[in-house]
Symmetry: C2
Subunit: 406 residues, 2 copies
Amino acid sequence: MRAALAKVDVARLGERIEELGAIGRTADGGVTRLGLSPEEDAAKTLVARWLQARGGRITRDPAANLIAGFGSGDRAIVIASHLDSVPNGGKYDGHLGVLCAVELIEAATAAGVALPRLDIIGWTDEEGARFGVGLFGSAAAYGRLPEGVVARRDRDGVSIADALRALGHDGDPAAARRRGTDRLYLELHIEQGPNLERAKRPLGVVRTIVGITHLRVTVEGAAGHAGTTPMEGRRDALVAAAEMVLALDDAARRRGGTVATVGEISAEPGAKNVIPGRVIFTVDVRSPDDDGRRAVVSVLEDAKRDAVQRRGVRVDFDTLADLPAVELDKGIRGALGEALREVGVEPLELVSGAGHDAQNPALAGVPTGMLFIRSTNGSHNPREHATAEDAALATKALILSIARLN
Amino acid sequence: MRAALAKVDVARLGERIEELGAIGRTADGGVTRLGLSPEEDAAKTLVARWLQARGGRITRDPAANLIAGFGSGDRAIVIASHLDSVPNGGKYDGHLGVLCAVELIEAATAAGVALPRLDIIGWTDEEGARFGVGLFGSAAAYGRLPEGVVARRDRDGVSIADALRALGHDGDPAAARRRGTDRLYLELHIEQGPNLERAKRPLGVVRTIVGITHLRVTVEGAAGHAGTTPMEGRRDALVAAAEMVLALDDAARRRGGTVATVGEISAEPGAKNVIPGRVIFTVDVRSPDDDGRRAVVSVLEDAKRDAVQRRGVRVDFDTLADLPAVELDKGIRGALGEALREVGVEPLELVSGAGHDAQNPALAGVPTGMLFIRSTNGSHNPREHATAEDAALATKALILSIARLN
């Protein structure tokens, strides 16, 4: 494998970042490429073209995941990341991990290196921005799909099953299950946070992926005329929701290391002269510490009881996800750290505040590791950025890690 | 005029409530008939047919208001209300005032009574639910349209000018201006509140229409990944907005007689794992006491300054409406009160918490009066209700008022 190091090509990586980033490009230079959309499918087709040209055995599994097989052997080293984005997101989140895997194949091919059995995977719908179900493709592959998930619908009423069928699949993503075929799982991803930038290091090793609780909260009050309903008689669903939003934010601020966000909110009927009778909002709580996460969710439960009593509303919590924090494989972390040292980077172990597909193989018992690539301007916005140079260095570290782990 | 009293027909009124209420009927028995929509136009066509059959001179002015002229003379007594609804509203709000005017014409015709110069008007888009501009038709008629209003667009990007042109007008509603042609203005409307019901009286005289401030508030923060952005660094537009929603609610509760509502809210980009970078919400503050209304708006200004300082967001207020409270004409109130006594109702003077088209002639200097008809279940919902009996009594009071005021 080491012979491939010299063939890693920064210019090619840079060009492909742009070429892949052009699929679903938005007016302000971002990317909108929702899960199971024609844009996500086009991204997979482009990546498949590159990998097929280097001898990859291309398949799409029943969850629409793109798989390109290389080398031979019973059990594979998986190198994977995702190819979807949030609405008006960036061109690095997920995509860069796939591009580094493609560059590894290009470099190994150019160097004439014999590859071990590798599966390069582009996961479907990691973000969950369309159907509210994140890590979709990897959950299907590792037997971790939520019950009844294929019936979930997007804003236009299209279900996951419908969307799969529109792409030529039979609508049963659970059939994508990978059964004991994986030796180990590696994922490269931009950090999406400031730690590597602050530490002036291009790469880092992920120790823990935070646990995540996702809720959909429905507040039912009473709609009424904004001018003729006295303040005393009101059961205003939005005022009750605002109290819960603030209680959640305050609780997360008090509990260091835990973060909480309300990213979506809607009020019905939604006219300026009508008191909101129903408000629906989402809750996202994350922590490397499961107790911290549960404590913040419990403050929200208190705020709910308070709203029911004092505001006369009804509040329902729908749990969309409840994943524990995951500590990644110690042996792989060691190998990744050694590979980093070989490319001249003193390894730093990091907490991932974002959820990642790597959670699914790790929770399914596959030895799993992740490398973070330095990124700026956060992520999930058009300004997220990583350099082709850092991606090339990550590709080299990946080559060295595989040499060590194979 | 008094001869017409005996010809007021409860059954006919009841039938026409249903016939008019069928235009734009919704699945749960409500009405969706937005301003300048085909449904609103169809309602005007139905009313025009009834009035033309009794000799009305039918016109549509450049704001699409329906005008039916009767009798002769230089200056008219205007009897008016509106024919639009909020989304999934009821079949009484606005419509019943027009139906009582139609019934007055029917009764006077049947009795062979010579009418004074009357203009029966069905106003366009009182609710403002589509373009965010309430009291549209009457504002056009009395020279009180906001600057540049015709460029305002609905959710589908259709401007007011476009919508007017689609109905065959030339897109300049300001040309609907009524110039000194009105002797006085009368409006009948359901109360939309509980006071007449509680007092067990079918009718009441409006003393004051509350002043209204409508704002569109835009909070600009910074979008970011919900998992990787520490709580300390956040500029969460929704958390800042939630503080403002609560400050507003609290201020209105402290200031008796003033009400405040946030009826619409949206968060962008609107994904559960993205911190809201922009939140837009509407504010509706109403009071019979202009100082009270200004005091509540000033608390909101304080909350804005606080949000800018503590949350690092930018906040912009866009004033959509800022109307003072209006005390209606004392002479007309006296005549309406006497008419109520004649039909056996002890007059009660009321504050209108809802805005009404009557504000516009009143602020333009036309002597203006309003009668409220008892209603139940609030309004702006499918369950709002008033009886045909109360509407018939209101028609009789209207006949007697005109006899007194002519």
